[in-house]
Symmetry: C2
Subunit: 231 residues, 2 copies
């Protein structure tokens, strides 16, 4: 099993299984939602798409943010913490630009697309290993560049996964090992600084907790403009 | 001064100054050639382009390799070690697929393009810092993915350069600091393993020596299909 890491969305890493990572906060939110009892998450890029899906998809709640601000009429921000504290609906509609784009691009290139975070670290690594196939961890990054939070999470995933590490995976594992803990690893990133500025530092702590959830969200299908993720 | 690192050629890092890095071995060879007395290096992608330039560009020597094998009729491989041990000509024509592509792409996007390696680490960092502009270190990578040798060299450059490190630069610096020395940093890469397989391990040691050369090669202009590099 060869293991690759793509630190930015444009990289064409060859593998059968893709694990998407946008750890602060989209993929952590997806894992938390499914663990909290939602049957599926529909990820879409645009606010208006989310509102339209809310009209047609039955028992739904709406989550998302724009520049870390609340969206009018939405039930939640893009916060796993908020989702864990409220009773679930059947479907969570989540609007997140990077997360959606990453899922859709991965679905076009990989036979299986899993959703990774630190919350479900062991579960997603085990599921990927059990396929016996080559694996690529696909980081959302920031503005087309490596994001430390995603690279840290990718490093933890590949270290947990084992296998034959390509240079990219070895680099991610080394980078992750250079931090004393997940709180420091995520906390050193620009994304974390932005969350702190908006008073959302508790989300960093929340997302930094390893192995609190035993779910492996997978890309299932497109539902209109949205990528459906379920366990 | 903001400092970015692009670990793969596709990344669109914003900056004014680009430092290209293909440390095993193209950019080390360019720095060594100019330090050894060549006036310029013409980097081209194709063997036939190199041979045609040799007919028109006067006092030249030819260097390059394909899959780490010697090219018929060429004076040197893509080896800084060989270049240091022979009297120079006016022009070195170097054929290297990645190195040339990287230079040409960088020249289209950055106002200034410098050539970085460990051999000229301090010199290239100082030259970049003296511009006072934002800097991006551009790694050749391997097959569109991060290469440990280039990422290591990028990390040493940004650590030497200082400035405000974007997440990508911070990751590179941390990665480099995780190795005890340059020999280990370059030696852990897939490129190094390939060089060892071809009996070229001395080139790894050669390229791992920091600050042995005080040259800052720069992209000057295109000469037909070749990127001209000079100090």
């Amino acid at each position: 099993m060869r293991v690759h890491v793509a630190f930015t969305p444009g990289e064409q890493t060859p593998a059968t299984v893709g694990i998407v990572v946008d750890v602060l906060r989209a993929t952590s939110t997806m894992a938390q939602a499914l663990a909290a009892g939602y049957t599926r998450v529909l990820c879409c890029a645009e606010i208006e798409e989310a509102r339209a899906l809310a009209e047609t998809e039955g028992d739904v709640k709406l989550a998302g943010e724009r520049r870390l601000e609340h969206i009018e009429g939405f039930d939640f921000g893009n916060s796993p913490r908020e989702l864990a504290g409220a009773p679930p609906a059947e479907t969570l509609i989540l609007t997140t630009t990077n997360g959606t784009r990453l899922l859709v691009a991965a679905a076009a290139r990989f036979e299986q697309v899993l959703v990774g975070s630190l919350l479900n670290l062991g579960a997603v690594a085990r599921a990927a290993r059990e396929t016996g196939e080559d694996v690529a961890v696909l980081c959302a990054g920031v503005l087309g560049e490596l994001a430390l939070d995603d690279a840290y999470c990718a490093g933890r995933i590949v270290a947990t996964l084992g296998g034959e590490h390509m240079d990219s995976a070895a680099a991610a594992a080394r980078l992750a090992a250079s931090f004393p803990d997940s709180q420091s690893g995520l906390g050193a990133s620009r994304s974390a600084r932005n969350l702190r500025k908006h008073g959302l530092e508790e989300d960093i702590e929340w997302c930094a907790r390893e192995n609190t959830l035993d779910v492996v969200p997978r890309f299932v299908q497109m539902v209109g403009p949205a990528a459906e993720v379920a366990v």
